[in-house]
Subunit: 303 residues, 2 copies
C-alpha cells in the first residue's frame, strides 16, 4: 500500500481545519471565523482562523500551518543534525476559551514533522486533545475520556492508556503542583513501524481531529445553559491565569515557537481574552472550586 | 574600613523593606500591607508584604527574603561550581500594579548573593528600577530617568549610561519586538574591585532602594488624577498582558525562581490582578496608544 506523502498529509490537515470550523460555527450559532493567511519568511505559511464573542466561544482559534526550510539552529542541536538539515512541518492547532465559566476550555493539536539530513529522511506524528474545565464534573470527564479511548481503540488498544498518561505528565504545572485540567490524550514522535504504517498513523491523527467537534459538543451541550454569576466568573479568570502560566512557562510548543521566531499572534492565540491573578488564593473548603482544585492531579482514572 | 557582612546587608535590606512600605502606605492613603512570613525548606525564608485595592495601587508586593543552603543543581552548572557549594542570597523585590491606567507599573529589585565553594568566597550585588507606563509621557519619562541618573552619579558617572543600556537590553520582549516600558537601570554581578569597595556597592544598592518611593511618588502625583474610561482600561489590560509575557517567558529571575522550587506566590506576586489578550491587536494610527507603542524600543535617550 502506498504511504501518504507530505502533500497528502498537508491536504488532509487543511481539510480537517475546514471541517472543524464548519462544526464549531454550527455549535456556536452566532459568530463565524475570520481568516488571516500568513507567510513564513523562511518558507511556507499558514491560515489563522479566529472566532470572537460568540454565543459559546468568547475567543478561539483553529490554526493550520505548513512550514519548511532550513532546520532552526536550536533544533539542530536538540535533534543532533548537521547544519544542512531541512524540515517540513504541518499541523492543525486549536484552543477555545468559552464565555461561560461552566463550559470547559479545550485544546487540540495534530501535527506531522519530516526532516531530511545527509540523504536520510525521518518523520513523525504528534497530537492530542485535552480538556480544562473551570469546574470539573467527573461524569462529564468520563464521557470525554470514553470518546478519546474509543478513537484510540480503533487503532491500538495500547494507545489510550499510554497517551492518557502522557497527557497527565505533559499538561502539568510543576510550580503549582497541579494539572492544567482533566487531561486527555497526548502523543509525540510516532513513526512508522512494524506495528503501524505511516498511513495508519496519519489516519489516527485524522481520527483524533474528527473526535474534536463531537467531544466538545457533548461538553458544551451539558454545560452551556448552567447558570453562573460573578463568583464563577472570578474563578474562571483565575483558572485562565493558570492556563496562561502553563502555556508561557511549561508548554514546549509555545516556548520553541517563540524561540524559533514563529508567528507570535498564532502561537499566543491560545491566551484567554481576560485572565486574573490573586495573591495566595485558596478556594473555600467544601466549595465547588475546592472540589475542582482537588481533582487537578495526575493519575485519575476518569473512566 | 570594615566591609559589610551578609548579616549587615540582610539587616539593611530588611530596613529598606520597612521604609518603602511606610512610604507606599502614605502614598496610597487607603490600603495597608498585609504580612506573610514564610520559611524555605532548604534554609532561610522571607516576608511577603502585599497591598490590595488601594486608592492608587490595585495590587502590589514588597518582598524581602534571605535564603541560604546548598547551591541548587541548576546553578552549580551555570556557575561551574562543585557540588559542595553553598550560597546566601538576600534582597528586596517590588512590583506595583496601579488601579488607574494613567499611572505606570513600577518594578524594583536590590539583591546580594554570596557563594562559598572549596574554601573561596565570591559575592556580587544586583538590582535596578524600571517603569512601565501604560501611556508614555516623554516629560515624565525624563523626570524618572533624571532621578536614577542622579542616584547613579553619586557613586560613579559611568553607572547611569551603563545600567540604562543594560535595562534596555534586559526588559525587552523579543517575540513582540518591543521593550516592556521606558526602562530605567539594571545591574548585576557587581563585585568589590579597586574602583568600588563592597561597602560602596552595598551603599549604592541602598541608594537605589531609597530612590524608589520619591521616584514613584512623582509619577503618581502627575498621573493619578487624570481621567480615564473603558478605552484606557482596555489598553491597560493589554499592556498588563505584555507584562505577564515578559515575566513568564523572558525574565530570568522568574524562570530560575520557578525552576529552583522558589516560593511560587512570592515570585508570581508580580502578575497583574487582571490582564487581557486580543488577537492581532493594533492601536489606531495617531492614537495615544499608538504613540506609546512607537516608544517601546531600545536606545531612547529620555533625558
Amino acid at each position: 500500500m502506498s504511504q501518504p506523502s507530505k502533500e497528502t498529509i498537508t491536504q488532509g490537515f487543511q481539510e480537517l481545519q475546514s471541517e472543524i470550523i464548519a462544526g464549531l460555527e454550527a455549535l456556536d450559532g452566532k459568530s463565524t471565523f475570520s481568516t488571516d493567511a500568513w507567510e513564513r519568511p523562511g518558507g511556507g505559511g499558514g491560515t489563522a482562523r479566529v472566532i470572537l464573542e460568540g454565543n459559546v466561544i468568547e475567543k478561539g482559534g483553529v490554526n493550520f500551518s505548513a512550514v519548511h526550510g532550513a532546520l532552526p539552529q536550536m533544533m539542530q542541536q536538540s535533534l543532533k543534525t548537521s547544519s544542512e538539515a531541512v524540515f517540513y512541518a504541518t499541523g492543525v492547532s486549536i484552543v477555545l476559551h468559552p464565555k461561560s465559566p461552566m463550559v470547559p476550555i479545550i485544546h487540540m493539536n495534530v501535527r506531522y514533522f519530516e526532516m531530511e539530513d545527509g540523504g536520510s529522511t525521518t518523520h513523525w506524528f504528534g497530537g492530542g486533545i485535552d480538556l480544562t474545565p473551570h469546574y470539573i464534573h467527573p461524569e462529564l470527564a468520563k464521557q470525554f475520556h470514553l470518546r478519546l479511548k474509543s478513537t484510540c481503540d480503533g487503532f491500538d488498544k495500547a494507545f489510550y492508556p499510554k497517551f492518557k498518561t502522557w497527557a497527565d505528565d505533559y499538561f502539568y504545572i510543576p510550580h503549582r503542583k497541579e494539572t492544567r485540567g482533566i487531561g486527555g490524550i497526548f502523543y509525540d514522535h510516532l513513526s512508522a513501524s512494524e506495528k503501524h504504517s505511516k498511513s495508519e498513523l496519519f489516519d489516527f491523527g485524522l481520527a483524533v481531529g474528527k473526535t474534536f467537534v463531537p467531544a466538545y459538543s457533548q461538553q458544551v451541550a451539558a454545560t452551556k445553559d448552567l447558570p453562573f454569576s460573578e463568583v464563577q466568573q472570578s474563578w474562571q479568570r483565575l483558572r485562565r491565569g493558570r492556563y496562561v502560566e502553563f502555556n508561557l512557562v511549561n508548554d514546549r510548543g509555545t516556548k520553541s515557537g517563540l524561540q524559533t521566531d514563529g508567528r507570535t499572534e498564532s502561537i499566543l492565540m491560545s491566551l484567554p481574552p481576560l485572565a486574573g491573578w490573586e495573591y495566595s488564593h485558596e478556594p473555600k473548603p467544601g466549595s465547588a472550586e475546592a472540589e475542582t482544585q482537588a481533582l487537578l492531579r495526575k493519575g485519575i482514572d476518569w473512566i
